[in-house]
């Protein structure tokens, strides 16, 4: 093992962050690119199921809140794309991998948002699961990824709170609203558990990721923490989690819970979820239809460079 790798391993052992121009094993670079880019893709694709309800939010306040949340997701995607870029891959290649199907994104976004209550369930459960994962990742070994996570975590808390609040309001409403609330929870619970990935024993990337301190807690650990948290929170809603095996275990000091439908998990991961095609089509469409905007912006910048108009205001000032 040559010196550079020894130095790298020492940094990992001593909790010293790895920065973009530091030496790193090729596999470390590649696995970070994979994880950070897929995290970024998840944020951007995640805008789609919620974006669908902006025009149908029940009040102006809810509409403004949902717009702000979706804007945050765009911002989160951008923090992560820029962190990914520091690893030596271009933005174009990263986007291309998403469109070609080579890169994945979180399978949760391949489910449809059927009712307004889904927006609440997503905020509470999906963002809740994301927060659990992201708080863990603020200690990841790659510097730019960790810093992006810190920034994201600060913003994510409002996402979960607004989701829970939506469900809380519904849970105190008419019979119809209560039923809608329970139905959304019923449909989003298991997919949210799937967000934590396969069992540790089936997770091919986990061992190396833990060794390199990219991942700080295992899939099953995080999933257990999430179940414990939600099992308590659901009581405040007066709703039920759709798992008849959910039960407090005094010995383990954790909730026991049922087995995930792994067939469904792998099927959706492989691309056969209810909305996989729709999501990717929407992304490709946005890219294609945005081409004229990118070209126009570039052309305008050229024009402005050629004949600058100093009297025109704008955001610029000599620093």
């Amino acid at each position: 093992m040559h010196d550079l790798e020894k130095i790298f391993d020492q940094k990992i052992d001593n909790e010293v962050k790895i920065e973009p121009k530091d030496w790193m094993p090729d596999a470390y670079r590649k696995t970070n690119i994979r994880q950070v880019s897929q995290h970024a893709h998840s944020e951007i694709v995640g805008m789609l199921p919620e974006g669908a309800w902006i025009s149908r939010a029940p009040s102006l306040k809810r509409k403004a809140i949902l717009i702000a949340k979706v804007q945050d997701e765009a911002g989160h995607g951008l923090y992560l794309y820029s962190a990914c870029e520091t690893l030596g891959i271009t933005r174009e290649e990263t986007i291309n991998d998403l469109h070609s199907g080579k890169a994945k994104y979180s399978s949760i976004f391949n489910y449809p948002t059927k009712t307004w209550a889904d927006i609440g369930a997503i905020g509470w459960l999906v963002d809740g699961a994301a927060i659990m994962n992201q708080v863990m990742l603020t200690r990841t070994s790659f510097g730019p990824y960790a810093r992006a996570m810190v920034r994201i975590c600060k913003e994510e808390s409002f996402h979960q709170r607004q989701g829970f609040e939506i469900l809380l309001v519904l849970s105190k409403g008419s019979d119809e609203q209560k039923a809608m609330c329970q139905d959304a929870i019923d449909r989003w619970w298991w997919p949210s558990l799937m967000m934590f990935g396969p069992h540790d024993s089936e997770s091919t990337n986990s061992e190396q990721s833990m060794k390199w301190k990219i991942k700080r807690k295992t899939n099953d650990e995080l999933r257990q923490n999430f179940v414990d948290m939600c099992a308590e929170q659901v009581k405040v809603l007066g709703m039920k989690i759709p798992d008849d095996k959910l039960k407090w275990n005094e010995e383990r000091m954790h909730y026991d819970f049922g087995e995930i439908n792994w067939d469904e998990f792998w099927n959706v991961v492989k691309g056969n979820g209810p909305c996989n095609k729709e999501r990717l089509d929407a992304r490709k469409k946005a890219w294609d239809e945005g081409e004229w905007v990118r070209k126009a912006a570039a052309a305008f910048a050229e024009k402005r460079k050629a004949s600058p108009n100093p009297s025109k205001g704008g955001a610029l000032e000599a620093a």
Binding site: D26, R151, A297
Partner: protein, 127 residues
């Protein structure tokens, strides 16, 4: 005199010196035709009057004005900024991390630069 300090431009620390293998740029254009080539900018935000600008990340934009506006949208949604600096990434010059040992060596053995090096009587120790 031996030159310890070599100037490296951030963008052109050669791949083999940067460590590991940087991935080759993809030659295949993204689906739907070539995206316009927008340069990469580094963003610095001053969060409050009196504080320094801090590096927060990077983004692509066609020119400085767009970079500032995009930086505002990406990095200051919660009033985290009173001032934004953007610099094209290619203009950031950085020291080579592999030569950090040599570069920063002069400071290592000069502990007399620290106040704690000086043992003073109690009456004046709050200096």
């Amino acid at each position: 005199m031996k030159t310890f300090i070599k100037k490296y431009y951030y963008g052109d620390i050669p791949d083999d010196k940067a460590g590991g293998n940087e991935l080759k740029d993809s030659k295949t254009p993204p689906s739907g035709g070539r995206g316009a080539d927008w340069p990469l900018w580094e963003v610095f935000i001053r969060s409050k009057q009196g504080l320094d600008h801090k590096h927060v990340g990077s983004l692509h934009a066609t020119d400085a004005q767009m970079a500032i506006e995009n930086a505002r949208d990406v990095y200051t949604r919660r009033m985290e900024g009173v001032s934004i600096w953007v610099v094209e990434s290619k203009y950031i010059h950085a020291s080579n991390p592999e030569e950090a040992g040599e570069l920063f060596e002069p400071a290592v053995d000069k502990i007399y630069r620290h106040p704690t090096f000086y043992d003073l009587p109690d009456e004046v120790n709050q200096m």
